[in-house]
């Protein structure tokens, strides 16, 4: 089958301007995108730069965007992308510094962020023989996460990274989960605090895109939610988030449902004049349209006492 690959090009040793080269290649049935790239480089253009390593979908090194979506080229079959026509576009990831052609800066994309979460384990205690054994059952929860091979597909799917490249991203935060929930960790709360800083877990919108992108089914979003739940249950250290969550929890606990007016005011902080002033234009407009709920003028739900009881019991259980 004749397929035209439209490949993103950029060469810092020439003018460094982005462009595109078209290569029409005869590819055999069942060929992968990576095999096609080898063919282009070997037979047509030795200057084309791309990455690969394991060639079997286990390392993530060859990830690029195939027709706009992130894929591992070593497992992506050409035939899966030519149903609408014999053309395939290949691009480096979005919002990532490109080094040359399809080779982008992995340090900026992921590794520097992994380093930020203190990606090593400080164990509780070490026995005389230098081993720190744990039961198989105790490791079950993190075993799946340990199968992460850092392909970065979750970061590529992330909703936050396109608007803020400094967000730590699901890959690094999932690494933090793997360490915080390791039964050998001597201070898992400290590990959670590291990712409570700005650009960490509280900047995640928990949209579950990462879970859809992960080729290993590790479910990074659920791991981030578990880190947040742990922070909630042991006292959130991010100030603005703590105010918001405490207000939310208090209103559900006291009345069964949410007092949104109170939440808006208390999230800013009752003594934060600047923050409260910021709310005024929208609040005034909303009020004039009968839209904004008045803080603290909130009625209890029927059975609010029963919700409160559940709330208190759950808090007690967690302790």
């Amino acid at each position: 089958m004749q397929v035209t690959f439209k490949v993103y090009r950029k060469d810092p040793e020439k003018d460094g301007k982005p462009g595109r080269s078209n290569y029409t290649v005869d590819v055999p049935d069942g060929a992968t995108v990576l095999e096609s790239l080898f063919k282009i480089r070997d037979e047509m253009d030795p200057s084309l730069a791309f990455r690969c390593s394991c060639l079997r979908g286990h390392c993530g090194d060859c990830m690029v965007r195939v027709n706009g979506s992130s894929r591992l080229t070593c497992t992506a079959k050409v035939s899966a992308y030519t149903q609408k026509g014999p053309e395939i576009s290949l691009d480096p990831l979005r919002n990532v510094p490109v080094i040359k052609d399809l080779v982008f800066d992995w340090d900026a994309f992921m590794w520097n962020k992994i380093k930020e979460v203190k990606p090593w384990l400080e164990a509780e205690e070490t026995s005389a023989n230098g081993e720190n054994s744990v039961s198989d059952a105790a490791m079950q929860d993190i075993r799946k996460v340990m199968s992460c091979f850092y392909c970065g597909m979750c970061d590529e799917g992330c909703t936050v990274l396109p608007v803020d490249f400094n967000f730590l991203g699901p890959a690094a935060l999932t690494k933090a989960y793997r360490l915080a929930f390791d039964p050998r960790n001597k201070d898992s709360r400290e590990q959670v605090k590291i990712v409570e800083k700005p650009k960490g877990i509280w900047d995640c919108v928990h949209c579950y895109e990462a879970d859809e992108h992960c080729p290993r089914g590790i479910e990074p979003t659920k791991r981030i939610v578990a880190l947040r739940d742990r922070a909630f249950n042991s006292g959130i250290t991010h100030e603005a988030v703590a105010r918001h969550h405490e207000s939310f929890a208090a209103s559900v606990k006291e009345s069964g449902w949410l007092d949104e007016g109170r939440l808006a005011v208390e999230s800013e902080g009752l003594t934060n004049v600047k923050g409260l002033m910021k709310l005024l234009p929208t609040a005034a407009k909303a009020l004039s349209r009968g839209k904004a709920p008045i803080p603290y003028m909130h009625s209890k739900r029927p059975d609010a006492d029963k919700i409160k009881k559940i709330f208190e019991k759950a808090e007690q259980e967690e302790k």
Partner: protein, 293 residues
Amino acid sequence: MKYAFYPGCVSRGGCPELYPSAVKVADKLGIELDELKSVGCTGAGVLPQNISDPINARTFAKAEQLGLPIMTICSTCTGVMAQANYRLKEDPNYRDTINRQYLADEGLEYKGTTEVKHLLWVLFEDYGIERLQSLIQRPLKGLKVSPFYGCYLRRPPEAITPTKELNRRKAYLDELIGILGAEMADISGKGKCCGFPILSANEENSLAMVAKHTGESKENGADFMVTPCPLCHLNLDGNQARAEAQTGKEIDLPILHLPQFVGLALGFDSSEMNLKRHIVSTTNVESKVSMMS
């Protein structure tokens, strides 16, 4: 056709235009609603699971007693409840523990039979599109509309799109735009996050998301955007002016709730759908709709 109606906090709080619009539309369609009043907030993804799962289990048990599926008008309520319901249905031991520890005191038990559906799903899966089409009195011809789902109405798959057939849920809003006679102004971020969940933690990022989605919709010629999620509405409508100030770009895109959009096609006036209550002016939409009448 009857549902245990779970309207959610926002439909009467920050978006008080939503609740009455939804009730009017349901009434016109002949969908009977038995409102669940003595139940709690879903937790909205803010409360941790160890607190919100038992509160949601209690809601499911109440609906189970009525023998009715739950209908919501909020993507976030649907998503949080569907995820909790998945855990409770899939793991009988977990359900037993929740029942024993939290519900038994009230003599309640959740047996794991309650279904949770958004109005959008109800229209396609239970009500039927042909029946809906037969009730359209004002095809919204000439209006260009962008869909915006709210993340929780699309993911995670085990709770939201558990079968291949139900993968269609990811396109219901796209389909509905055509069914109601309007034209689609598609946007790349229709299934992404609106930014609302991080408004406290990172306002700049949150507003950047508002500007991205509404700006793209406007560039694609939309008259308005429609969303089944009132939390998305709070950010996309309520904070659009701040997003404009942050990016220095005028957007001015009205955001309609799903029931308002359906209601206009069913023949309700803009005033009956409470369009005037929005923060971004809906005047242009109202005048176009009034020309159709």
